[in-house]
């Protein structure tokens, strides 16, 4: 409830009106869970922008995976993350626990037929610069082989709110949604495939292609 209100009156107006999304291949977005949305990660806004792709009454069923070390830093942040965003906190570093245990909370949420948002890059990095995908996504797919993985390319949010910048400046953000993928059987190959798919979605995104060669890029 509080999450739906938060998105209806604050997040969606900022993402859809102040910034504005230019969405390509909208029909590829899943209408119901379980599903995993993966995307390139540039800005704090990526998560909420992806959540805003869904109808507002549905947002309560969309849960982003987030780094536990960041989102459980103090009680206030934890309370906000739980009630307003509904994050699934997972540990970023493997401290001896096996991988399946780390991913268990995500699999649990997928079992409830929810949609999970996952950033395979792990961290935000420099604006609009994609780093190598980590293997976590392969482990997740392996353990949920029937769940569709929808790759999404985001561009522009890193310009609107770059890392280390507190001031939001409006830019129209491009969202290009790819066709659903399923676990293919090979860990390294799967990660590579997903990365290539997102690169391909990027090359179909006009503003990204145009800016990529500009002297101001990155």
């Amino acid at each position: 409830m509080i999450k739906t209100l938060f998105f209806t009156f604050l997040v969606a107006p900022i993402i859809k009106i102040v910034l504005g999304l230019s969405i390509k291949n909208r029909d590829r977005l899943p209408e119901k869970g379980p599903a995993i949305i993966i995307a390139n990660h540039n800005s704090h806004l990526d998560t909420v922008a992806l959540m805003c792709l869904f109808p507002l009454f549905f947002v309560k069923n969309v849960r982003p995976v987030a780094a536990a070390d960041y989102w459980t830093k103090n009680k206030l942040i934890t309370w906000f993350a739980n009630n307003f965003i509904g994050v699934i906190p997972i540990k970023r570093k493997n401290d001896g626990t096996n991988k399946e245990d780390l991913l268990a909370p995500i699999l649990e949420v997928l079992k409830q037929n929810k949609i999970v948002i996952y950033f395979p890059e792990g961290s935000r990095g420099n604006p609009e610069e994609m780093v190598q995908f980590k293997k976590g996504i392969s482990h997740l797919a392996m353990n949920a082989p029937h769940v569709p993985i929808i790759p999404v390319f985001l561009y522009g949010l890193g310009k609107a709110l770059p890392r280390g910048e507190g001031l939001l400046v409006p830019f129209i953000c491009d969202v290009n949604i790819g066709a659903a993928k399923f676990w293919s059987g090979d860990k390294d190959q799967f990660v590579k495939d997903l990365q290539e798919t997102i690169n391909q979605l990027g090359s179909e995104t006009r503003n990204f292609e145009k800016d990529k060669d500009s002297i101001y890029f990155g």
């Binding site: 770059p162 400046v169 409006p170 006009r206 145009k210 500009s214 002297i215």
Partner: protein, 315 residues
């Protein structure tokens, strides 16, 4: 004070007329799609659909009380400026400069809403023009300094300063426009500008032969341009007495001026898009492209019309 104002009968009729024209266009497209199901009219259908959204929003500018109407025009300015910035190359170091550039939009339209003409006319060309380079200098990135302050100021002039003239039309003394009241001038310039776009397109499509400016816009022809200007001038003479204080020979001249200025505004944005290497400025209006694709002509006709009518009929 009521929220809406339907006092001027001719403005009401004009809006009804516009809605009528669009209804006929929608019916024609509907019949076309039924008659030739094998042909693809998706683009045309989307275009008509977007026109309905535009008309709905425009009605708000025409009938709502002045402050709300000005707010709506400010919102259009904001959308256009944002689209422009999303299109052009932007330096990362200009992030905070852009914040101030955006901030000039609410200030400019607030000034308009107070009716302070002298400040409205100098705020962006003088104060913002002086302030933004100063803010850029404080950041200290001199790489392509000139190109960047130039780009930002050009965007503000085109999308905010020019469009602001539409809003200031609502602040002119309505007692000098007995026929059209407060909104008559706004509806007159916007309708004629958009009509001129369509007329030039139709004339060009049907009898266009001699290219007028092939390097910028290969589909524009002399036949389209002259036919459009003539049709717009005729319509101007016809409707000016009902919506504006403009009298006969002047109404012919202003029709001609709007037709010509609309053309220049159109190819101006075409040149910008060609420079950047895009076909449409955005995706906000399906079938049209972006908002800049729709207000390109207005960025020229609005200030030219405003100063003409202000000088000759409101002084």
């Amino acid at each position: 004070m009521s929220l809406f104002n339907f006092e001027s009968m001719s403005v009401n009729y004009a809006m009804l007329g516009i809605i009528g024209v669009l209804t006929i266009a929608s019916l024609l497209v509907f019949i076309l799609t039924k008659k030739n199901p094998q042909k693809n009219y998706k683009e045309l259908v989307l275009r008509i659909k977007s026109w309905w959204f535009i008309i709905a929003f425009f009605s708000l500018m025409v009938f709502a009380q002045v402050k709300i109407a000005i707010f709506c025009i400010a919102f259009v300015s904001f959308l256009a400026f944002k689209e422009y910035l999303s299109l052009i190359p932007i330096r990362k170091s200009d992030h905070r400069v852009l914040f101030w550039a955006y901030l000039s939009i609410p200030i400019q339209f607030y000034i308009i809403s107070t009716g302070w003409y002298q400040l409205f006319i100098i705020f962006i060309p003088v104060y913002v023009f002086l302030f933004l380079p100063f803010r850029t200098v404080l950041i200290g990135d001199t790489n392509d300094f000139l190109a960047n302050i130039g780009r930002i100021q050009w965007g503000l002039m085109t999308t905010v300063f020019s469009m602001g003239h539409l809003a200031y039309l609502l602040m002119l003394d309505p007692s000098k426009n007995l026929a059209g009241g407060r909104s008559g001038l706004l509806i007159y310039v916007v309708a004629l500008t958009q009509f001129n776009d369509v007329a030039q397109y139709c004339w060009g499509k049907s009898i266009g032969k001699h290219k007028i400016i092939p390097k910028v816009s290969p589909n524009k022809t002399w036949e389209g341009f002259l036919g459009g200007v003539a049709t717009t001038s005729a319509l101007s003479v016809l409707i000016a007495p009902y919506l504006t204080p403009i009298t006969f020979p002047a109404s012919l001249f202003i029709g001609f001026l709007l037709g010509a200025a609309g053309f220049v505004g159109d190819v101006n944005i075409s040149a910008l898009k060609r420079d950047i290497g895009v076909k449409d400025s955005g995706t906000l209006l399906p079938g049209h492209g972006g908002i800049l694709d729709r207000i390109d002509s207005l960025s020229y006709t609005a200030p030219i019309f405003f100063h003409f009518v202000d000088y000759f009929f409101y002084k």
